[in-house]
Subunit: 445 residues, 2 copies
Amino acid sequence: MASTANPFSISLSSKPTAKPSLFNPSELSLRVQTPGVAALRSSFASNCSVKLSLAKSKSKIMANSAQLVDQPPSTTGPAAPVVVDVDLGNRSYPIYIGSGLLDQPELLQRHVHGKRVLVVTNTTVAPLYLDKVVDALTKDNPNVTVESVILPDGEKYKDMDTLMKVFDKAIESRLDRRCTFVALGGGVVGDMCGYAAASFLRGVNFIQIPTTVMAQVDSSVGGKTGINHPLGKNLIGAFYQPQCVLIDTDTLNTLPDRELASGLAEVIKYGLIRDAEFFEWQERNMDALIARDPSALAYAIKRSCENKAEVVSLDEKEGGLRATLNLGHTFGHAIETGLGYGKWFHGEAVAAGMVMAVDMSYRLGWIDDSLVKRVHNIVKQAKLPIGPPESVTVETFKAVMAVDKKVADGLLRLILLKGPLGNCVFTGDYDRKALDETLHAFCKS
Amino acid sequence: MASTANPFSISLSSKPTAKPSLFNPSELSLRVQTPGVAALRSSFASNCSVKLSLAKSKSKIMANSAQLVDQPPSTTGPAAPVVVDVDLGNRSYPIYIGSGLLDQPELLQRHVHGKRVLVVTNTTVAPLYLDKVVDALTKDNPNVTVESVILPDGEKYKDMDTLMKVFDKAIESRLDRRCTFVALGGGVVGDMCGYAAASFLRGVNFIQIPTTVMAQVDSSVGGKTGINHPLGKNLIGAFYQPQCVLIDTDTLNTLPDRELASGLAEVIKYGLIRDAEFFEWQERNMDALIARDPSALAYAIKRSCENKAEVVSLDEKEGGLRATLNLGHTFGHAIETGLGYGKWFHGEAVAAGMVMAVDMSYRLGWIDDSLVKRVHNIVKQAKLPIGPPESVTVETFKAVMAVDKKVADGLLRLILLKGPLGNCVFTGDYDRKALDETLHAFCKS
C-alpha cells in the first residue's frame, strides 16, 4: 500500500507558528493588482523581444477581481464563475474558476464544437468525475455523443505508447475534424490530451478540465502540450490552445495532500518571479492553503491564472518572458529525470529546484540573504522539499540540464532572481562557478 | 528484383499520337496567369468561408513569371533561381526553383537558424545527395555542424516508430531550439521531418529539399506534415511551415520513371481544379514531361507551386478552398489503404481517384462528357492508372472513406468538378446514389 506520509526528510521549523492570518475577502480589492510596469520590464533579460500591452492586461485583471469581490457569498442558484481571459487574438479563451461549475452544463456545452466528444482521463480520476463530465456534456443536448479513453495514471505513462491509445480510440470511434477532445485530470492528462488534439487530423478543438492544483494554476493554461522522451521531459509536443479551461474547485476535495502541496510550488513561483504582493499574501496564508480553506485556494488559483494568462498573452511561444515561468524547472526536471518519472511529483521537484535557483542567485550577488530565508520558509511551510534527493548527483544534473529546452546554441539559460522580491531574469550570462557551487552544495556526490 | 515495368494493366490508346507540341519558352508570358476571379470564386462551395486577396496574389505571380522569361538561357555563373513566395504573414517563405541550386550554398545557408542542423533523409536518397547537401550547408561556414538520420524508404515506414528515430537522433545529438531540420527526399521524408520539426521541443525551424516531382509540386509546399495510422493516411500531424523550399530540378535526373509519373498526377490536378490554361498546356506538353524535357519540367513545377502557394496563402488551415487540392485524394487514400501502403505510389492512387471523381461529377450532371474524355486521355498519356486495382472493393472504399479527414459531423465531403474545365466544388451536398454508382462502376466486387 502506498504510504501517505510526507516522503521528504525535511526538518520543519520547530518554532510554534502563530495562527496564520486567514484569507480575508475584504482584502481582495487591494491585493489583486497587476505587477508594476517597471517590475515587469525588469523581470526578463534585455535580449528578449516581447510586445508589451500592459495597460490592457491591467484593466482586464482589475475587472475580474471586482467580479470576485462583488459576488454574493452564497446563493441558492449556481454561483457565477470568475472568468480570467487569456488574450491571444483569434486563439483567445476564457478560464472559468469556481465551485460547482461541473453542475452548470451550459458552461461546458458552449465550447463544444461538433457532435462528437472524446474525454481523455485516467484510472484515478475516471471513477470520481467521468460520469459527472459526461452528464454535463450531454444534459439537454441529445445530439452530442461522448466517447472516453482512460489512461493509466502517472508521469511515467506520459509517453508515445500511451499517446497512441488516444489516437487509436479517436480513429476507431471515427471522430472527425469537428470533434472536441476534453482533458479531465491533472497535468499529465492535460498535456497528453492537448498534444493529441493538436495532432489528430492536424488539429481538433479541445477543452481543459483540470482536477489538481498543479493543473489548475499552471499546466492547463497557456497551450503547452506534449509528452516525455526517455532522455528528458516534454521534449515532444506542441503549442496548442484550448477552447476554454474549466476549473471546478470542488474537484480538489478528492486531491491527496501531497498533490495539493505539489501544486503550491507553482503558486509560490508566480510570487517570486513577478508578483511580490502575491508572495506576501502567501506568507500570511500558506497554512490556510495547506488546510484547504476554500476561499484561500480559490484566490490562489485565480491570481495564479491571472499571472499565467498575462505572461502567455505577452509571449505565447516562449520567445523570452514566458521562460520565466520555468523558475526552478531546469533543476527540477533534472531531479525528475534522475529519479525516474513519478517518484517525486513535479511540484516537489520544482520546489527543490526553486530553492537551488535562489541559492545560485544569492551566490551571484543578485539577491539579499533575507530573500533566501523567506523562500526556504515558505517552501517548508508548504510541506515541500528544500533540496534534491540524495540519489541525484552533480553529474546527473549536468547531463540532464545539457538537453534542457532552454539550451540555445550550446548555452544553458536559467531563470534566476535578481533585485527585490518579484524580479527575475532569464539569461545565459552568469558565472559558471556559481552553478557549480550550487550543485555541489545541494548534492552529496 | 523489383520490376521496372509499368505495373498497371491499362490499355493505352493504340492510335499513333502526333508529335507533342514541345514546350516553348516564348509562350510563358501568355501562359502564366492567375485564374480569373470569377473562376476562383465559383471553384469552391458557398459554405466555405475564405478570405480572398486575389489582386495581391495576381501581381505576385506575374512578377515571378516575368523573372523566368527574362532569365538568360544559359550563363557561365550559377543561374538565379525562380522564386515563388508563399504569403502567410510572419510565416511566409520562398520556394526556390532551378537547376544546380544545391551548388549555391548561400541559398540554403541564409535559411539555417542556429549552429546545428539535422538532415532527415532515406536509404535511397542519402547515397545520391546527402554529401552534396552537407557540403552546401557547411561550405565556408565552419560554425555549423550537421547530423543526419537515414530512415528506411517507403510509405509503409511513415509511422510513429520511424518518427521516433528522428526524435532519438535529435535528442542524442543534444540539438536545441535554435537548430534546423532539413528534409531531403520525397513526400514521406518531408512529411515526417516536418512533423518531427513541429513537435521537437514544441517546434524548431525546418527546410524542405524535395527530390521527387510529387514533393516538388505538392507535398513540400504548404506546411501539411504528418504520419500514417494503421487505419488511415496522415491522420496524425500538424500544419507547420518551413523556412524555405529549395527545389533543385537536377535531383530529378535520378528519379525512376514510375515516380516521375506519380508526381504528374498532382500537376494534372492543379489544371483540373483551378487552372484551365495550365491543363491545356499539359495536353500539349505531357509527352515532353514524360520524356523529362528540362524546360517543360521546370515550368510544370513552377506553375504548380504558384497554384499551391496561392491556395495555401488564402486558406492555410484548410477551412475550405485548400481542400480542393485533394481532388481524387479521398478515392486515392482508400486505394492506398486498401492495398497496403507502398504498393502503388501516392500519385498513382490519386490519378485513379481523379478519374473516379470525374466520373462521379459526370453522373451528377455537373460536367460534360468531353471533359471526362480529356481527363482519361491525359492520365493515360502520363502513364498513370485510370481506375483502382481489382483487389480494392466497394466495401473497402466505404470503410476507408468513413474515416477521411474531410468527414464533418458524419458527412463525407468530396472535391468534384462542376462547370467548365478549371472549376470544382468541395461539398457534402451531392446525391449518394452517384457515389455508389461510381464505386460499383470501378470495382469488380
